[in-house]
Symmetry: C2
C-alpha cells in the first residue's frame, strides 16, 4: 500500500481527493461536502463510514446525490465529532438526513451525533442500510450489514432529496429502497491495511468466501473457486431468492468489483449475469458494471439488485453529477460555490478544581501516558486477535484513541483542569480520534467516569474508583447494547468494576484494590476465548472466534494494568 | 481471476462489455466499434492492443474519442485479421488511422493490416506511441514502449479526428502529442493471467520496480518501497526530467492506478504530486486521478504528463462520450445507431493438387496434430521461461496458434486441399488465433513454406523441406526485423534450416535429414540462454534473461521435433 503516516491516511487521502475534484467537493471538519450550493429548502443528506471503499462514500457527493460524507479512517467508523462537524457545515435549517450502512460503530456515532443535533433543535433523522443477504437470515433482516446495495439506497435518498422531499418522505423512500435491495458478494483474496505488514485476512488459495462483507467479514461459508459463469449463477440465485412479493420484474443492478477483480473479469461475469437475469424475466434498468463500492484491494465481486417500482426507478435514473458517478446531462459541478464554516475548537480554559482533584489530575496524565505506551507495544497483537473474527482495526483504533487521550489529558492539565475535566477531555479526544465502536465506547466511558470523579472532591479513594468504573461500565453497556458474556470489552470491565467494589467495601487501599481488579480483568479477558460473539451485533460465522479472546477485552485489561504506576 | 475458458477470455469479455454498454459499443469482427454513426467525412480512428488494460482500450470508444478498438486476448496483440475486421467494419471511404502502443506484436499486426488495406486502395496510416521514459534512453525515444500516456495521445488523435482533421493533419497532431507525453510507473506486486496458477512476475516484498511496463516489463531497476510522498516525488522528477524546450508550463496529468493500488492511495499520492507540480510552476489542466490504463491487478501506479500547447490543450479538453470516460456535456451516446457488416468467411473449397502433394498434405495434418499436443504439454514450461524477461504469454499464444493451425489444416485437407494450401491455411489460422508477435511470424513463415511446397509437385524430398524452411526463416527475419543472435526463435529456425540444407546436399533421406536438423535446433535453442535480447526490440533490463533460453526458440525446436512422426 501507498501511504505516508498510516495514522494520517484519512486526512492525506481527503487532501488529495479535494485537490483532484475541487469542482465537486470541499473539505469540512470530519469529511467532505459538495462544493456547490444546495438548493434552498432542500434537506441535507449525509452518508458516511470508514474509508477504503471509494467511490463509496465520498466519491458520490454532488448534485442529485449526497450533500456531504463523513469520512473515517480506513475501515473505521468516523467519530461523533466528525459527524457533527459535517452536519453543522451543511446545515441550512431544513433538516439533516443521515444514511449509513448497518455497522455498530457507524450507527452509534451517527446516532449520538443525531441526538446531539436534535438537542440543539435541528431536525435530524438517521437510517441504516441492511442489503447484505448473507449476513443474517431473512427473519433477522434488521441485523444485516450494509454492502454494495448501499449505493442504490444512497441514490434513492439523494435523488428524493434533490426532488424536494421532506424528512418524513425521505424516510419512507429510503426504507422502501432498503427493503427492496439485496446484495451478495464473493471474495477470493484479502486486503492489507495501510501500515500493516500482513493481510487483514486470508482466503485459502483455490477457495472463495461466499457472502463476504465489505471489510472481509466472513459470509455464509467457503466454497471452491468456480468458473465465472458458475459464480454468476450463484450470485444471481442468491439475490433473487428474496424477491419481494410485488416484484415488478424491473431491477436496477450493480455488478461491482471490490478492488483487485478487474473490469475485464467483471465483463466476463456480466455476460452470464445479464443472460440469467433476462432468462428469469427481468428487465435491467441502466445497470452498472464496474467499481462502485470497493474494499481496498480485496479480490472479489458483488452483485446488488434493487427491485424497482415506478418511484424508485425514477430515483435510480434521476440525473446526478459527482466526482465518481454521473447520470444524465449533468451540470459538471458548475453551480455556485459555497464556503463552509469551520468546526468549533477545543476548550481553551478550565474552571479551578479542588487541590485533591488537581493532584489526581496529575496522576491521570501519567496514567494516560502509560496506557498509550502499553497499547502501542501491543498494537500488532491486538490487530492479530481482532483479525480472527473482526476487521483487524482494533489495534490501530486503540493506538489512535490512547494517543489522543494522553495528549488531551496533558493539554487539559496544563490549562489548569482538575481530574473530572481531564477524564472528560481525554474521553472526547479518544472518541473523536480513534473512530470505530470501541473509540466511542471508551470515550463515553471516560466521560461517565469523569462525572463521578468530578473537579471538586476533597479526597479520592478506592471507593471513588469503584463508583467511576461502575459508571463507565454502565454507560458502555447502555450505549453499545451489549451485555456480559457477549464477548466484548465489557467482559473485562464489569469483572474489573466488581472486584474494585469488593476491595473498596473490604477497606482496601486504592493501589491494592486497583491491582487486584486489574488481575481479575486480565483473567476475565483471557476467558473470553470460550465465548461466541452475539450474532448480528458482531458478525456472522462468529464461531470462528472461538478459542481467541476478544480484542476489546484484552486491550481493556491492558489499559487497566498500565494505568497503575509501578511501585 | 474470474474466467470461463481462458482461451475464450477475450470473446467472453467483449460479449459482457457490449452487453453492459450497448449504447456505446457494438461487436465487430476483431473488436468493438462505436454504436453511433460517425459523422460523414470523418477519418476513422482505431486503437487496439491486448486486453487487460480496461478502460484502455475498448473503454474509450465513442463520440470524440476512438471509433473502434481492436482487442487481443489478455496482454496479447490482436491478429492481423482482427485489425482488418475492425478496420473494414468502420471504413467509410474517408481514411483509417491506426494508433497503438509501441509493442513489436501490435506494430507488426497493425502494419500488416495497414499494408493490406492500402493494397486495396484504402488510405490507412499507423502510429505507435512511445511515452514510457523508463524503457529506453532519450536518444532512443523511438524504442520506448507505450504506457499510460497512450490515453493522452489517443485523446489528441480522437479529438482531432472529431474536429474534422484529415490523415496528414492527424499524423502531425498525434506525433506532436506523443513527442510531448511522458510516463513513469512503479510496480509493487505482479498480476496473474486467466487460467495461470502463478503470478506472471514477482516484485520482492518491500521493494518496487521503477519504470515497470504495463505488462510488468522490467524498468530501470528495483528500489525499496517508500512512503507515498517520496514515490510521488520520484515520479514527478522523472516525468519532468525530459520537459520539452518550449514548455508552456501547462500540463495534462494522469495519476493512474494499475489495478490493485486503489483510489484512496492515489488520492494520498495526488496530494503530493499536485503540490510538487505546482511548486515547479506548472498549471494542471483538468488532471485525472483514477484507473485509466490498468494492468490486470498489478499493484502499482503511473504518472503521465502531456506538455500542452494551445492546440493540444484544446484536444485534451474537447468533449467526448465513451463507456469509461466523458468530458463536457456529452451526448450520452444518443446518436443514430449504426449496423456493421460482418467479416468474410474462410475458404470453402480448394483447387485439386497433385497426388504427391495430397499425400504430403495428409502427413502434414498428422504433423500439426503432434505439434499441437507437444505444445500443449509444454505450455507451463514455455510460460515460465517467457516470464523471466517477457510477459509470459508465449505458452498461451503457442497453444492457441497450434490448435488453430491443426484444426485449419484438417479442415482444409477434408475440403480437398493439397500440401501448399494446407500450410497456407494453417499459417493464416495460426496468425489469426494466436495473436502476439510469434503468432504472426509463425503464420507468415508457414505461408512462405506453403508457397515453396505448392500444390502441384510430383515428388517431395529433403531438399524441398530445406528450401521451405529457408523461405520460412527468411520471411520471419524480414517481418520481425530480427537477426541471428538476437535471442529469438530465429536462433533455432536458422540452424535448423541450415542443417536441413546440409543433410539434403549430402543426399540424406527426408526422415534422417529432418531428425538431424531437429536435434541441431534443440541445441541451438538451449544455447540462446547465453544471449541477451536486442534492447528496444525486446525490452530493457534484458540482461535479466541471461541464463534462460528464449521461449520462442525453445518452442520452435519443440515443434520441429514433434512434426516428425515416431518410427
Amino acid at each position: 500500500m501507498l501511504y505516508n503516516d498510516p495514522k494520517n491516511f484519512r486526512d492525506d487521502m481527503l487532501k488529495g481527493y479535494v485537490a483532484a475534484y475541487p469542482d465537486y467537493v470541499t473539505l469540512v471538519p470530519g469529511g467532505v461536502a459538495r462544493a456547490t450550493k444546495m438548493p434552498e429548502g432542500k434537506v441535507a443528506v449525509i452518508n458516511g463510514g470508514g474509508s477504503g471503499h471509494y467511490p463509496a462514500f465520498c466519491g458520490i457527493v454532488g448534485d442529485g446525490f449526497m450533500d456531504a460524507t463523513v469520512v473515517g479512517n480506513v475501515f473505521t467508523s468516523p467519530s461523533t465529532e466528525d459527524v457533527l462537524g459535517v452536519a453543522r457545515a451543511v446545515d441550512q435549517g431544513t433538516g439533516i438526513y443521515i444514511v449509513g450502512g448497518n455497522y455498530a460503530g457507524d450507527k452509534m456515532n451517527f446516532n449520538m451525533a443525531r441526538d446531539r443535533l436534535r438537542s440543539e433543535g435541528i431536525d435530524c433523522r438517521s437510517f441504516y442500510i441492511t442489503d447484505d443477504v448473507a449476513s443474517a437470515k431473512p427473519e433477522e433482516r434488521e441485523k444485516r450489514r450494509g454492502n454494495v446495495g448501499t449505493f442504490m439506497v444512497f441514490k434513492a435518498a439523494g435523488a428524493a432529496a434533490a426532488a424536494g422531499l421532506g424528512l418524513d418522505e425521505l424516510e419512507r423512500v429510503t426504507a422502501k429502497a432498503n427493503d427492496r435491495t439485496r446484495t451478495v458478494s464473493v471474495g477470493f483474496r484479502g486486503c492489507t491495511l495501510p501500515g500493516e505488514g500482513e493481510p487483514l485476512f486470508h482466503v485459502p488459495k483455490g477457495r472463495m468466501e461466499v457472502g463476504q462483507g465489505i471489510h472481509g467479514e466472513p459470509g455464509v461459508g467457503e466454497d471452491d473457486v468456480r468458473p465465472a459463469a458458475e459464480v454468476a449463477e450463484l450470485l444471481v440465485d442468491r439475490v433473487l431468492a428474496e424477491a419481494p412479493d410485488d416484484d415488478s420484474k424491473r431491477i436496477a443492478v450493480i455488478l461491482d468489483g471490490l478492488g483487485s477483480t478487474k473490469y475485464e473479469e467483471l465483463f466476463v461475469v456480466w455476460g452470464t449475469v445479464r443472460e440469467l437475469l433476462e432468462e428469469r424475466g427481468y428487465t435491467l434498468v441502466s445497470p452498472l458494471v464496474g467499481e462502485y463500492v470497493t474494499s481496498l484491494d480485496i479480490e472479489g465481486i458483488a452483485l446488488a439488485v434493487e427491485f424497482l417500482d415506478d418511484e424508485l426507478e425514477g430515483y435510480w435514473l434521476a440525473p446526478c453529477d459527482t466526482a465518481s458517478f454521473r447520470r444524465g446531462q449533468g451540470s459538471m459541478a458548475r453551480g455556485e460555490r459555497r464556503v463552509y464554516a469551520r468546526a468549533e475548537e477545543a476548550a481553551e480554559s478550565f474552571e479551578a478544581g479542588s487541590d485533591a482533584s488537581r493532584g489526581l489530575a496529575g496522576q491521570l496524565v501519567g496514567a494516560f501516558d502509560r496506557v498509550r505506551d502499553a497499547i502501542a507495544a501491543a498494537e500488532d497483537e491486538l490487530a492479530r486477535i481482532d483479525g480472527v473474527a473482526g476487521d483487524g482495526d482494533h489495534g490501530r483504533g486503540m493506538v489512535k484513541g490512547t494517543e489522543a487521550a494522553a495528549s488531551a489529558a496533558r493539554r487539559a492539565y496544563d490549562l489548569g483542569a482538575a481530574a473530572g475535566s481531564v477524564l472528560d477531555e481525554a474521553g472526547k479526544a479518544w472518541a473523536a480520534k480513534a473512530g470505530g465502536t470501541s473509540g466511542v465506547l471508551w470515550g463515553a466511558a471516560l466521560e461517565a467516569a469523569g462525572s463521578v470523579v468530578g473537579d471538586h472532591a476533597d479526597s479520592y479513594d478506592a471507593g471513588t474508583a469503584a463508583r467511576a468504573a461502575d459508571a463507565a461500565a454502565r454507560r458502555m453497556g447502555e450505549l453499545g447494547g451489549a451485555h456480559r458474556g457477549d464477548k466484548t470489552m465489557l467482559d473485562a470491565l464489569i469483572p474489573f468494576s466488581e472486584e474494585l467494589g469488593r476491595q473498596a467495601a473490604a477497606g482496601a487501599g486504592f493501589r491494592d484494590a486497583w491491582s487486584s481488579a486489574a488481575s481479575v480483568a486480565r483473567e476475565a479477558a483471557e476467558a473470553t476465548k470460550d465465548l461466541v460473539p452475539k450474532v448480528g451485533r458482531a458478525r456472522p460465522a462468529a464461531e470462528r472466534s472461538l478459542g481467541t479472546p476478544d480484542a476489546g477485552a484484552v486491550s481493556m485489561a491492558l489499559c487497566m494494568r498500565a494505568a497503575l504506576p509501578e511501585e
